[in-house]
């Protein structure tokens, strides 16, 4: 295997996290950017390389572990969160990362996703959302918009798509964020924050599939349009966007409104100030719904993060407590417990 004489005292570089395998995504695929940001984050999280594990399911995104030089497990379709859960419970010291896609996580793996969120297992789940099935060559996915024409929807999709952020909120995920492949700086920041969070971190990453759904996020990444369409949420700051931050979001009751900051009618003081640590989910939910409203910008950044006991810690605690209470399990007494009798 590669690089066996790593001295952990020497600070590793991003390239130390690249495996010796050729990366086989299509040239121009958004996955490259995500891989490169992940490789940049790895040396900075303060975890020795051997304690980092990447787990994946099936799909283009799920080839990810093969391209990292950490431990990796390429699972089966949809099951990455469950595999990662078992792994984390088996050794809570590991830093476990899940690379998955919208088909893998929202469709076949939907059940594992919602339960992993609610159980709050300390994992980082990166969902590469390209709103299409790539590896099977272009069918609509659970995040494809209504009306989308694909190989299995020649007359347009008649399904209502999931809103992954709303779903994660409803599933009680304790860290929920969104970023974009074409905004590497932002992506790296979000990954770093996700890693720092204890519990299930869910990051939706808009990822351009250049072959089957090219341009799906152009308005969020093109120079000319992105400022008007992307809202970068920053904790403690008012929600502003547009060229030179000329627009803001004002909350009227439960209804978010875009206001113009150049006319003098509204100032920064009128705007919604983002609180990512808000105990209540309500505002985060309203933010999650921006995506579905064409009149509102698409938020990126952390929607919400809160502290809550993790399943892995709670399990360790119970085991420790039972050992303290009953003493370390003794096999002989277990065998001979209950209603025994002696035959002489």
């Amino acid at each position: 295997m590669e690089n066996k004489t790593i001295d952990q005292e020497v600070k590793l570089k991003p390239k130390d996290f690249a495996s010796d395998q050729d990366v086989r995504w299509c040239p121009g695929c958004g996955d490259y950017s995500i891989l490169s940001q992940a490789q940049k984050v790895m040396p900075e999280i303060g975890v020795p390389k051997e304690k980092i594990v990447w787990v994946s399911g099936i799909g283009c995104s799920s080839r990810f572990p093969y391209y990292m030089s950490t431990y990796g497990f390429h699972g089966i379709h949809g099951r990455a969160p469950a595999i990662a859960t078992g792994l984390k419970l088996s050794n809570p010291e590991l830093s476990v990362w899940v690379a998955t896609g919208d088909g893998d996580l929202m469709s076949i793996g939907g059940n594992h996703f919602i339960h992993t969120c609610r159980k709050n297992i300390d994992l980082n789940i990166l969902m590469f959302n390209n709103e299409i099935y790539g590896l099977t060559k272009g069918q609509y996915s659970p995040t494809s918009e209504r009306g989308k024409v694909t190989k299995t929807t020649p007359y347009g999709s008649i399904d209502t798509p999931f809103n992954p952020i709303s779903l994660a909120l409803g599933s009680k995920a304790t860290f929920i964020a969104r970023s974009i492949d074409r905004n590497p700086k932002h992506l790296k920041e979000v990954l770093t924050k996700a890693n720092a969070h204890k519990g299930t971190s869910f990051i939706e990453i808009y990822q351009n599939c250049i072959i089957f759904n090219d341009g799906a996020f152009d308005d969020l990444s093109n120079k000319e349009t992105k400022e008007d369409n992307v809202l970068e949420m920053k904790h403690g700051e008012p929600l502003v966007f547009g060229k030179d931050n000329n627009k803001g979001i004002k909350l009227d009751g439960f209804t978010p409104k875009v206001v113009d900051l150049t006319t003098g009618e509204y100032s920064l003081d009128d705007l919604w100030v983002h609180d990512e640590f808000d105990e209540s989910q309500n505002r985060a939910y309203i933010l999650s719904q921006f995506h579905d409203n064409p009149n509102l910008p698409v938020p990126i950044g952390v929607f919400r993060q809160v502290n809550s006991p993790t399943l892995n810690e709670e399990l360790e605690k119970q085991i420790k407590f039972q050992i303290e209470k009953k003493g370390k399990g003794n096999l002989e007494s277990l065998l001979f417990s209950g209603n025994t009798w002696e035959v002489e």
Binding site: E50, Y71, S90, N91, H115, L331, F336, N339
Partner: protein, 613 residues
């Protein structure tokens, strides 16, 4: 009144009542006490899948049968000699199995118009002569229970719930067993509700005293204790034995146990049991579904824990794809399938042997998995231990088949001491020099290199991997090589398991070959056939994949091979295709164990006579 005490060598009794009448508890208490006084025994709980079917209905009847003896016991008995029937429905559904001249103890209070109608009785069987040919003992059990509790503050509902202990007390008296073990159990179980413990004690004693004073019963019975081997015993069900076996194996292997599972009848008890053993460093994870049960276990196995998943037929079907993942990643994992009646939801609480082909073959691709089967309740302990040894030594998933019959049934178990159990070796890879994830040792096992070990970072997964190096490989020759290598690894386990033993008449013309939970019944039927003058040999398979090395040789010694199975001939199919030998099948798929007499008759038929009885 002086009662006559008659000696019997063996008795089969059955308790039957509404599923809310506590018949399973009554039966298991009677079994524990019977084991305690030194009889050998075998039990057969039989209950409906409804938790509380409407009271008084035929489909809501729950039964518990056991046979106990001063000799060794192989089965819970073909036909009960004594039936305790708590209501008309229980009588109706069970009386047909009773031996002629058998004893029926009846709760006559329950034979009112409503219950008779629910049981489809046109006339009261206590008043017509439909029970002629049996010794009927009608006892007003509900009234007598209420009398015994008249000075307590229990609600009428709580009082009614105690009536099974009246029946138990009376049965104890009838078979000359002490009430003390049950009284001790009551006070332990209800230590936080002493009034309930005391009420049940009162009723238990009232039942026993009733036997003493009633004019209805003039004879009581005694079954001497069996000549069991010296040692300390406990009565154990298959699921209990499996649970303890898992903990024992993890303890000996010296690594944490991880159980990823999802509740499913009749396997749930194992997950419940293990969740109590946290102080043995046992991690239990009740997953969101069967698939997460096994995939979490695969993740934990990658992480270096000793991983198990427990399930039953429908659950095994859901785990199929993940089993293939465990095969190709070559990670140790033990899958315990407590078989039940299928297909689909089938008969969830009843027994069957119909998952054998699913276990041996049921996967996409060439995905060989060792398959083992336990043959009796206590054997579950040894077989789960053995399954674990094989999984760890060969880095492979292993399927252990038990079934509802042995999982719920119980028998006395001479307890092994912890230090007598064979060692289980676990070697994690730590050496970085020349480490390759798909290199092989002398058993063709690959190294177990767990995350957290510096310098061994590697990737595994469901895609085909190159020999030795373990990189993703689509090369045709490599795939052909790997498919054959995985098959050989599993096939070679035949060199590491005991040979098939022949019991009975080695020089007979006929051998009866069985597998799994039918062992007791086959042994009993062969014993009876031999007693009747037939020459019969017997062999029982505990390893189904690979089969013991000498299987073919054994079978070819005999002119006739009889394979009784509670399925449509799944082992027969494997044996025929593996060895091209002719076999005779005997198949009944009633959700119940065979009766010894059925196989005995078949043996006689094959040997050209009547069964001698």
């Amino acid at each position: 009144m002086e009662k006559e005490l008659k000696s019997l060598s063996e008795v089969t009794i059955r308790f039957a009542g509404d599923s809310g009448d506590g018949m399973q508890l009554t039966g298991s208490q009677f079994s524990d006490t019977t084991a305690f006084v030194g009889n050998d025994l075998s039990t057969l709980p039989d209950y409906p899948s409804e938790i509380r079917a409407p009271a008084g209905t035929l489909y809501g009847v729950s039964g518990f049968q056991l046979k106990f003896s001063s000799d060794s016991v192989n089965t819970p008995g073909d036909m009960p000699y004594v039936l305790i029937a708590m209501n008309p429905a229980a009588l109706k559904t069970n009386v047909k199995d009773l031996k002629s001249n058998g004893i029926i103890i009846i709760n006559e209070d329950a034979f009112d118009k409503k219950n008779l109608k629910l049981a489809n009785y046109e006339t009261n069987p206590l008043e017509d002569d439909s029970l002629k040919g049996f010794k009927v003992i009608p006892v007003p059990i509900s009234t007598l229970t209420a009398n015994a509790l008249k000075d307590t503050n229990l609600t009428p509902k709580e009082v009614a719930r105690c009536k099974n202990f009246f029946a138990l007390g009376l049965t104890y008296w009838l078979f000359n067993r002490p009430v003390e073990p049950t009284i001790n159990w009551l006070h332990k179980k209800f230590s936080k509700m002493p009034e309930i413990a005391e009420a049940n004690e009162l009723v238990l004693k009232a039942g026993s005293n009733f036997g003493e004073v009633t004019q209805l019963i003039t004879v009581r019975y005694n079954v001497e204790s069996a000549k069991l081997e010296k040692g300390i015993y406990k009565n154990v069900s298959g699921n209990e034995a499996t649970s303890i076996g898992m903990v024992a194996a993890a303890h000996k292997a010296g690594i944490p146990l991880f159980l990823g599972s999802y509740p499913i009848t009749p396997a749930t008890e194992i997950l419940q049991n293990l969740s109590k053993y946290k102080n043995f460093n046992v991690k239990t994870y009740q997953a969101e579904d069967e698939i997460a049960g096994i995939t979490s276990a695969i993740g934990a196995s990658f992480g270096g824990n000793l991983s198990y998943t427990t399930t039953s037929g429908p659950g095994l079907a859901l785990k199929t794809e993940a089993l293939g993942l465990a095969v190709i990643t070559e990670l140790p994992l033990v899958v315990i399938n407590v078989q039940r009646g299928g297909p689909s939801t089938g008969l969830p609480t009843k027994t069957e042997q119909s998952d054998l082909l699913q276990a041996v073959y049921g996967r996409n691709g060439e995905a060989p998995i060792p398959v083992l089967a336990a043959s009796t309740p206590k054997d579950c302990f040894y077989m789960v231990y053995e399954a674990t040894r094989i999984a760890l030594k060969y880095m492979t998933p292993v399927i252990l088949l038990t079934d509802a019959y042995i999982a719920n049934g119980s028998e006395p178990w001479k307890l092994p001491h912890a230090d007598e159990l064979p060692d289980i070796d676990v070697k994690f890879q730590t050496e970085t020099e020349n480490f390759y994830p798909y290199s092989r040792n002398e058993f063709n096992a690959r190294p177990w290199a767990v995350p957290g070990t510096p310098g061994l970072e590697h990737r595994i997964g469901g895609l085909e991997k190159s020999h030795i190096y373990g990189n993703v490989a689509h090369d045709p020759d490599n795939h052909d090589f790997m498919v054959k290598l995985r098959a050989k690894k599993v096939a070679d386990i035949a060199n590491d398991i005991p040979e098939l033993e022949i019991e009975g008449d080695i020089d007979a013309d006929l051998i009866v070959l069985g597998w799994g939970g039918t062992k007791g019944t086959i042994t009993e039927s062969v014993r009876r056939a031999r007693k009747n003058g037939y020459k019969v040999a017997q062999a029982h398979l505990k390893y189904l994949n690979p089969l013991p090395k000498n299987t073919e040789e054994v079978l070819k010694k005999y002119k006739k091979v009889l394979i009784p199975e509670i399925n449509l001939g799944q082992l027969a199919r494997i044996i025929k295709s593996e060895f091209l030998v002719d076999v005779e099948q005997y198949n009944k798929v009633r959700g119940l164990p065979f009766k010894a007499v059925e196989i005995q008759t078949k043996i006689a038929e094959m040997l050209g006579g009547n069964n001698g009885e």
